[in-house]
Symmetry: C2
């Protein structure tokens, strides 16, 4: 039986109640000036401490609680205020704002922390019997409302925190696969693999907090997706506990034995079961890495370069293009100012670039392979008049690759609305999608003639298309912050669907995209939705698994 | 309204009733000697002409027939003996044998040849109303019983021949995608694309006969899968008619909007609906192609080279390794005999190879890219003591890449049991799977101390594992041919499942693997099977779509 402290430590994902990290990066003078100019007067906001939050009493019936204790032990069923408050939603702007305001309406009635796959199965059995809804909880980093404790037709909601299922179970060196429990966070997974000379190489911005299981059920894609692929491509086998029994899909490199059921689990967002084991593709730790930055003369030219590299290669492992506004903002944030900024502007101006769009390129692998690919990439970029900024700027991006969410903490304190959203489409439709989403966000968030700051980047490229990732900054509307963003998000959602974008390229559906996901799931005749509903009813007849998520 | 001749020409896939092609390649003296030595006395077999086959009366009720005629027109509903007999099963050894014996028990009651997606939908509506089972029919090349007209609970079975849905609908040059109707055969698809300077590059052995739609619903994989990927990776969007309505999945490069429903259609084998439109990834016609052959000193060493190239690259587009028996047999078939064979043996022996395993490697792309990859591949092969045979031997493989099924016609005439089967697993389990399948086939087919000839090759490699493709030759047991192979197939199936192989790497499930597919579909608790059954019931409540296939 684990002690309270042991369970606590395994639930701890490093984030605090209302912030991503324990440190707040300070904005430099350039960034402050840029924000002030663009957004006008800001009203600083403060966050309530978790101890000051008030909580509704737990609705978990005593009989259900006792059965859960019998399943996982007393210390692994938590309904103290702190544990419940800390599981009140994920990391979307709205989730964080609610908690900053001391609003704990999204707290589950209890947290259950199973210690084995068998305990997960038993928890599902108990919850089915007692009609208690289950929100599977990995790293707690959902930005689409995937952790919102919706009861559906159930009497209460428990979060099933997978923090104790955090082991590397086995490594197959010959086949280059590794089998993990689902609750392991990426740094721990990489550390365990590094002891074998191996690496997973899945590096989303949530790297420090998110869990492997979470990546899988939300169809995550990392910053090195050009080289490593989406998590979809990395999952070779898995086990999933469902109220109906266990789904076991052995690691298989390729098969034509019916539909690939791994792909039904990928993106299922906890609505079909809880993944208890994952076998993923791993690689030797790369011999070398190299990052470099370039500037494209325009978004259009930069997009064309991305497309050429994605379609004809050579493919870097990391490939990103920021639009002009994001480039300007990134340079300000990174402290590229004063003499340094003037020198860079001169360097670019002499080469015909005014403003320009930042390109970041990363390579991993053997030294000779990297040299070969760099040469090829350089040819493509130079042919379209991109200008090199060198490897220093590339390393600076690498150094700051996880800084976004920390920066958001700072911005929220200062009264800035700061949120991101993302989509993807084919290359021929990408510019239209870009224009329409920018226009929709601007129209929704403009105040007193002052439009929001919108930056965008391409960070995942495919032969047929690419993702678009938008960052939005505006003056938060004090007292109406949540409604302000909800309206903007709705406008963006509608623009995305109308422009043939997917409602999410790598954040998932959750509640944020649930009501606009119909096109992605097979169209207006709801055939795809009917298929997914049928699977859910077959596997989860009592409807306990993550109600209110994914399905419209 | 199309004429009879128009419909006939669109149903014609080039095969005859009992043979793959209209020509029979002759066996050379070496091959005949090798076969005679290995298999002993053979009893030549003859094939009945389609005109001599007797057919049971069609069970299609008049009202259903009239409704189908109303849906697609009189000329597009066929129940004449020839059309029915020519749709009596696919291209498995058993299917062909049955037809050679004049057994038409597997003929559908009628053939319906819709001319549009709307007509396909209407056919499904009519068949649902009249409780008529539907076998979707693409190129007619299933080797796993996917075309067997099982009525299930229905009153009759119609084959829905998609031969009239054979157009290239549109090309998106920027995104490098093309949208096709499902019934188009690969040569026609490539010809249509070539007019745009594009190519699909999906080249399975059934290339000349199979349809694009068939590839998709059976999860096909082509000979250039190392470079181009499986058909799974090529499908970006699709439309599927189901009794419940139309499933529309727009072309999307990547998404996290719920489970990827394309992957539910891939491998669905006509049990969920009929695909009416496909958007696939295409590429420019390669600037150059290059094939070359090598000999590995042993199967073990050759497998290791395959693994190295799959895991660390550089990856050729085609990558194949034959075991010693297949190498011996291939060389005999290709007429490498007499002085030529002696010279080759000497060349190899001087380099330490006795027997040896043939490696075929192919490259497609730009000349510089091919040069670079060839250099890298050469290093890997030489490091493990493979010996080059040059590009002549590679071109000879390319020239004969579609010859297998023609050769089978010849062998069947001579009284040889000739069939293939295939599987895949992870690299660490590959040798065990190979050994166990060989042993199972040998034990089942040995007669009077004479084992069958079993050849095997690796032809699809992945970082985590590879496929194994077995060719089996034995003296056919006159009068009991079908039972003879059924017993061997059952033994192989069981060996595959026991050795953690998939029951099919690229042939699909059909009826041949239906009763051993449980492990691939999620294991003994039947959770995955329940999920698929639930989808089927939701989309096809009357159970008309390809009954008796795929699901155990």
């Amino acid at each position: 039986m684990p002690t309270d402290e042991m369970v606590d430590s395994r639930m701890d994902n490093g984030a605090s109640w209302t912030s991503w990290g324990s440190t707040r990066p300070e904005l430099n003078r350039t960034a402050r000036a840029l924000l002030g100019d663009a957004l006008g007067t800001l009203t600083p906001q403060r966050a309530l401490a978790v101890e000051d939050a008030e909580l509704a009493p737990s609705r978990l019936p005593t009989a259900a609680r006792e059965a859960l204790v019998a399943a996982v032990g007393e210390t692994a069923v938590r309904d103290d205020a702190i544990a419940r408050a800390e599981h009140a939603g994920g990391q979307s702007y709205s989730d964080i704002l609610r908690r900053r305001h001391g609003d704990t309406s999204e707290a589950p009635d209890a947290i259950v922390v199973p210690g084995s796959a068998a305990e997960v199965a038993e928890v599902l059995r108990v919850c089915t019997e007692h009609k208690v809804a289950v929100v599977p909880w990995g790293g707690g980093t959902s930005v689409v409302g995937g952790l919102t404790p919706i009861a559906g037709g159930c009497v209460a909601v428990v979060a099933v925190d997978l923090g104790r299922l955090d082991r590397l179970l086995s490594v197959d060196h010959v086949s280059r696969t590794a089998t993990f429990e689902p609750g392991i966070r990426t740094p721990a997974a990489e550390a365990a693999l590094a002891a074998h000379g191996l690496s997973l190489g899945h590096i989303p911005q949530s790297y420090e907090r998110a869990s492997l299981g979470g990546y899988v059920v939300t169809r995550s894609s990392g910053q090195a997706s050009s080289g490593r692929g989406r998590i979809d491509d990395m999952v070779l086998g898995l086990r999933m506990a469902t109220p109906r029994g266990e789904l076991v899909l052995n690691a298989m490199p390729g098969s034509a034995a019916g539909p690939d059921l791994r792909r039904l689990v990928l993106g299922s967002e906890g609505t079909l079961g809880i993944v208890t084991e994952l076998t993923v593709r791993v690689r030797p730790v790369p011999e070398a890495t190299h990052y470099e930055a370039w500037v494209a003369p325009s978004w259009e030219a930069g997009s064309r370069m991305m497309r050429r590299l994605a379609q004809d290669g050579p493919k870097p492992d990391v490939l990103r293009l920021s639009d002009e506004d994001e480039t300007r903002f990134s340079l300000a944030m990174s402290g590229t100012a004063g003499a340094k900024k003037r020198a860079m502007d001169t360097w670019l101006r002499l080469r015909g670039i005014h403003g320009g769009c930042l390109i970041v390129i990363g390579f991993e692998g053997g030294a000779a392979d990297i040299r070969h690919r760099r040469r090829g990439v350089r040819r493509v970029l130079r042919a379209d008049h991109a200008v090199p900024l060198g490897s220093g700027a590339g390393r600076s991006w690498e150094h700051n690759r996880f800084s976004g969410p920390y920066l958001r903490d700072t911005l929220l304190d200062q009264g800035v609305l700061a949120e991101t959203l993302e989509t993807a489409t084919t290359w021929s439709q990408l510019q239209g999608l870009y224009d329409d989403v920018c226009a929709a966000l601007s129209a929704s968030l403009i105040r007193d003639g002052r439009p929001p700051l919108i930056g965008c980047h391409i960070s995942h490229v495919y032969p047929a298309g690419a993702s678009l990732y938008f960052t939005v900054l505006a003056a938060a509307q004090s007292g109406g912050e949540i409604e302000q963003w909800a309206a903007a998000k709705e406008a963006a959602n509608n623009a995305i669907v109308a422009a043939n974008g997917t409602v999410s390229h790598h954040h998932a559906v959750g509640t944020a995209h649930r009501d606009v996901v119909t096109t992605d799931l097979g169209g207006d005749q709801l055939v795809g939705v009917a298929a997914l509903r049928a699977v859910k009813e077959a596997l989860d007849p009592a409807g306990i698994l993550n109600p209110g998520k994914l399905l419209p």
